[in-house]
Structure formats: structure tokens, C-alpha cells
């Protein structure tokens, strides 16, 4: 009964998203309490990224509502949601290619950082360097974003998201295409961020990583929630196994 005593950070109620005749999300409702490490799994095309796009504002939803920190954000554009505290990374990294790593972060600090904390230009640079150091990218600060390796690109996207001072961080397959040691590296990073009071939604295909990371896991299939609960509960669920094994 613990989650009920606490107001959820993010509440998704009765969310439906259609593209033409195709229903990508079908009446999805879920509450995510503050501080939770939340795993989102499901086969390809099950609606995971669509759900992320609805939370971050890239898609408008009709019908359904998204409530964040007790405020209805269903109709807000993405940049306002970012300023309210929702940050994300992208499945295929989308760095600002004409900029250096440092400048990529400065965009977040310029436009979305908490202005009550970060006031001056010096403040901003300090904040930028501290995020880069934490992400292990300090030596890459003045390198062009196009010159980064895959794992560095993933880290930079998370760093840029952190620059917006998020309360909720959505990591969309930040480990896809990485080696197992790199997966551990990124996983540790996300763990350390979660320890700092940031709620994290992690979408991932690498099952071990999701299971290790998440306190609670949700599985989507064809736009519907087929299981939600602790990692063990979800993994032992009959329908989840069927969805993943394709039987």
C-alpha cells in the first residue's frame, strides 16, 4: 500500500494514440511514484517509444491525460514539459551536430535549467563541467559531437538531459548497440542518477539490464499493458513469456 500514500510523480490515465487506422497505444493507465526506477519492456512495435513520445510531448494524445507533479500537461508543448522537469534521450542519438559536447549541454542549461539555482554564465559553465565529469565526458568537452563514439554519444545524450535539471528522466534504449562492459558503465551511471532523487523510466531490450535496474517493470504488447509489477513477477508472467518467445 506504500505507493498509494504518496502522490504519483507521473500519472498516465486512459491514454490512447492512433495513427490513421493503427492503434499504437490502447487505453494505457499507470502511476509512477517519485524516486522509482521504472522499467518499460515489450516487443518491437509494442508502443514503448510512442508512450515516451506522449509523455515528452512529441505526440499529442487524444483521448487520455498525462499528469506530472499534480499538473495536467496533456496539452503542453515539449519544451514546456522539459522545463517542468521531464527529460529524455533518444533511441537513435540526436546530438546537435554542429556543436561541441559542451555546447550541447549549454543548450539545456540556457533554456531549461532552474534559474533560481543557476544564475550567471560562470554558474552555467560550472554546472556543465560537473555534469560532464560525473558522466565521464570531461575530457571530451570541446570535441565536436560528430566525433564521439557510440557509447560517448549515449552518455552525452544523458548528460544533455541532465543539464535540463530533470525530475523525471526517460532513457530510450540508451544501451542499444553497446558492448557488455559499456552496458554496465551506462547502467551504473543511471543507478547513480537514481540515487540523486531522479525518477527514471528505462526502456530497454537488454533484459538483464532492465531486471537489475528496475524496482518495477511494465510490459506492453500491441499498445496494451499485459503485465506490471516487480521484475520477478513480470518475468514469470505467462503472457510476457509468450510475447517475447513469440508463441
Amino acid at each position: 500500500m506504500a505507493p498509494e500514500t504518496q502522490a504519483p510523480l507521473l500519472r498516465i490515465s486512459a491514454l490512447t494514440k492512433r495513427f490513421g487506422g493503427f492503434t499504437a497505444l490502447d487505453n494505457v493507465s499507470v502511476d509512477i511514484p517519485p524516486g522509482q526506477r521504472f522499467g518499460l519492456i515489450g516487443p518491437n512495435g509494442s508502443g514503448k517509444t510512442t508512450l515516451i513520445n506522449c509523455i515528452s510531448g512529441a505526440f499529442r494524445t487524444e483521448p487520455g491525460t498525462v499528469t506530472f507533479r499534480d499538473e495536467d500537461i496533456t496539452r503542453l508543448p515539449p519544451h514546456i514539459r522539459t522545463r517542468r522537469g521531464i527529460a529524455r534521450s533518444f533511441q537513435i542519438p540526436r546530438p546537435f551536430r554542429s556543436m561541441t559536447v559542451a555546447e550541447n549541454l549549454m543548450v539545456g542549461l540556457d533554456f531549461a535549467a532552474d534559474t533560481s539555482v543557476i544564475v550567471s554564465e560562470a554558474h552555467r559553465r560550472e554546472a556543465m563541467m560537473s555534469i560532464l565529469t560525473r558522466m565521464g565526458l570531461a575530457s571530451k568537452a570541446n570535441v565536436s559531437a560528430t566525433k564521439l563514439s557510440q557509447v560517448e554519444l549515449r552518455k552525452m545524450e544523458l548528460a544533455r538531459a541532465m543539464a535540463t535539471h530533470p525530475k523525471l528522466l526517460i532513457s530510450d534504449e540508451a544501451m542499444a548497440g553497446l558492448s557488455s562492459s559499456e552496458v554496465d558503465e551506462v547502467l551504473d551511471l543511471l543507478m547513480s542518477l537514481a540515487d540523486q532523487d531522479i525518477t527514471i523510466i528505462m526502456i530497454e531490450h537488454i533484459m538483464q539490464a532492465v531486471m537489475r535496474f528496475s524496482e518495477r517493470v511494465m510490459c506492453l504488447e500491441a499498445g496494451k499493458i499485459i503485465a506490471i509489477g516487480t521484475p520477478d513477477e513480470v518475468m514469470s508472467n505467462q503472457r510476457v513469456q509468450e510475447a517475447y518467445l513469440g508463441t
Binding site: 508543448p77 519544451h79 546537435f96 556543436m99 543548450v107 538531459a161 535540463t164
Partner: protein
């Protein structure tokens, strides 16, 4: 940073002082006629670059803004006879409004759709002016220059100086945008619009801001043209050549830095003046087109990009 700013303003002051000196010393009218056109193209290219360069939205509608600037001045002059400064200020205001309206209509479109929409807007506005009898319709309108004001002893010299002031204004605005958070936001949305939104950049508002500023400057640059030619007609005021010139000068100069369009406009403007005098005005459009295609294919970052490349090579050589 601070020191750069001081140098910039000293340079601007010297430029204006030089322009003023020219009007007092040189008696021959021709240099002013020629330089006026070059200055006008600097303003247009710099203004184009604010939306087309920083934000990456290829505007084919420079001639729409320029033409509206011309006709704002024509209308005000005919209706009220207000002085040039008021005509220019009014043109800037109209240009800002037009930028806002056009931006709202078109800035949600991407890439080529935006570009085509701006051509469409140009032709529609031109057609409307062509059907507006009060300002002369298709056949155009003759204008009589009023008396010139001190310290100038000739109207063209005054126009030349006025356009020089607008150059300084346009470059200062463009430079401010580039170095401010607005510039950083525009650069981010140029690279990736969705990623920019999700990093907190209010993309539509920034694009609209760029469109409004760019439009105001283009209209202002067009306002004195009626007095310069003592004549205005829709076909030449809305000529697509203004669009291709502004675009070509910006891209050839390079859009990554405010100085790019200035360099491009001076280079091409001077070449055009020489070609028009020595060969023909058709050939100068040809040269413009060929240069544009060559640069876009072979030197995508323009002259600014070439300079940066040479510099970094030299640094590597030394280090």
C-alpha cells in the same frame, strides 16, 4: 568577449565616419549610386541569414519583404509626404508584422515546403500590389524626391549614408543574436528540431522571433529604394532576383558567423556592379547562379568555412 565588442563598435563607428566623409569629399555621384546597391545587399544578406543561416529555414521570400518595404514607403510618401526616416521606420514595423503573420502560417512546415510557401507568399503579395491602383498598379509610379537635408547636398548621398546606418544596425543585431542564447537555440533547432524542443528550446517562438527580425530588416532595406530610383513598379520591386541574391550572398559568405553574409554581399555586390557596367545585367545574374551552385557543391560552409579550414590547418602545422 568584452574586448571583441569594443573592437566591433570602434569598427562600426569608423565605417560610418568614413561613409559620412565620403559624402562630404567626393563630388561625383556614381560611387554613391553603386555603393548604395552594395550596402542594400549587405542588409538583405545579413537579414536573410538570421532565419536562413542561423535557423536553417531557406526563405525564398526576400523579394516579398523588400517589395513590401518599397511600397510602404511609396504609399506613405504619396499619402502623407512624411520624411524618409518615418518611411523606413514604418516599413520596419510592417515587415515585422508581415514576418510574424508569414511565420505563423509557414514556420510549422519543414524544408522545401517552407521555401515553396515563401515563394507563394511573394507572388500573392506582388499580385495584390499589381492590382492596387492607388500606388500605380502594374505600370508603376513616378516619385519626385523632396529637398535634401543638411549636411548632405545631394539626395543619393543621403540615401547612401542612411543605408550605411542600416548596415551597422543589421550587423549589430545579427551579431548580438549569434552570441546570445537566441543564437544557441536557433543553432540547436537547425541541427535537430525535436531534440531542441526536448532540451527546452521553444522552437516555434525562436523561429518566429528570427522571422520577425529578419522581415523587419528586409522591409527597412527596401524602403529607400523608391526614392533611390524615383520610381517603383511591382515587377521590379518583387523581383525574385532579390531572393536569389540574398540567399547566394549568405551561403557563399558562410552562415556560421555574422561576418559571412557581409563578406558574401561585398564580394558579389562588387562583382555585380563591375559586370553590370562592363557586360550586362543578365551576365551578373548568371555569375551569381554559377557561384551559388559552385559554393554549395564544393565549399558548403562558404568563405567563412574556408577561412576556418585554413586556420586550423595552419595551427596543426605550427603545433
Amino acid at each position: 568577449m568584452k574586448r571583441n565588442g569594443i573592437y566591433f563598435w570602434i569598427g562600426a563607428a569608423l565605417f560610418l565616419a568614413g561613409a559620412m566623409l565620403m559624402t562630404q569629399v567626393i563630388g561625383n555621384q556614381y560611387p554613391f549610386f553603386a555603393c548604395y546597391v552594395i550596402l542594400q545587399f549587405i542588409v538583405l544578406a545579413v537579414a536573410w541569414s538570421i532565419l536562413g543561416g542561423y535557423a536553417g529555414y531557406v526563405n525564398f521570400g526576400t523579394s516579398a519583404f523588400f517589395g513590401v518595404g518599397v511600397y510602404t514607403a511609396v504609399f506613405l510618401f504619396k499619402a502623407t509626404g512624411v520624411p524618409l526616416a518615418v518611411q523606413i521606420a514604418a516599413a520596419a514595423a510592417v515587415g515585422a508584422l508581415m514576418g510574424f503573420a508569414l511565420g505563423l502560417l509557414t514556420l510549422r512546415m519543414q524544408g522545401i515546403f517552407f521555401s515553396i510557401a515563401t515563394i507563394a507568399a511573394t507572388i500573392i503579395i506582388e499580385t495584390a500590389i499589381t492590382n492596387w491602383r492607388y500606388v500605380g498598379g502594374a505600370s508603376g509610379i513616378q516619385l519626385q524626391r523632396p529637398a535634401v537635408m543638411a549636411p548632405f547636398d545631394n539626395y543619393v548621398e543621403m540615401l547612401f549614408f542612411v543605408q550605411a546606418v542600416m548596415v551597422v544596425l543589421a550587423v549589430a543585431i545579427s551579431r548580438y543574436i549569434q552570441n546570445s542564447w537566441i543564437g544557441r537555440g536557433l543553432q540547436a533547432l537547425k541541427d535537430d528540431e525535436l531534440a531542441a524542443e526536448c532540451t527546452g528550446v521553444p522552437t516555434l517562438r525562436l523561429k518566429l522571433t528570427a522571422c520577425v527580425i529578419s522581415g523587419a530588416l528586409m522591409c527597412a532595406a527596401g524602403a529607400p529604394a523608391a526614392m533611390y530610383l524615383q520610381y517603383a513598379d511591382p515587377a521590379s520591386a518583387f523581383n525574385l532576383n532579390y531572393s536569389v541574391s540574398a540567399l547566394a550572398m549568405s551561403l557563399i559568405g558562410g552562415t556560421a558567423h555574422w561576418a559571412g553574409p557581409v563578406i558574401g554581399a561585398i564580394l558579389l555586390g562588387v562583382t555585380q556592379q563591375l559586370l553590370t557596367v562592363t557586360i550586362s545585367s543578365e551576365v551578373n545574374v548568371l555569375v551569381l547562379g554559377v557561384m551559388l551552385v559552385l559554393f554549395v557543391v564544393a565549399a558548403p560552409e562558404g568563405i567563412i568555412g574556408l577561412i576556418r579550414k585554413v586556420r586550423s590547418k595552419r595551427n596543426e602545422g605550427e603545433g
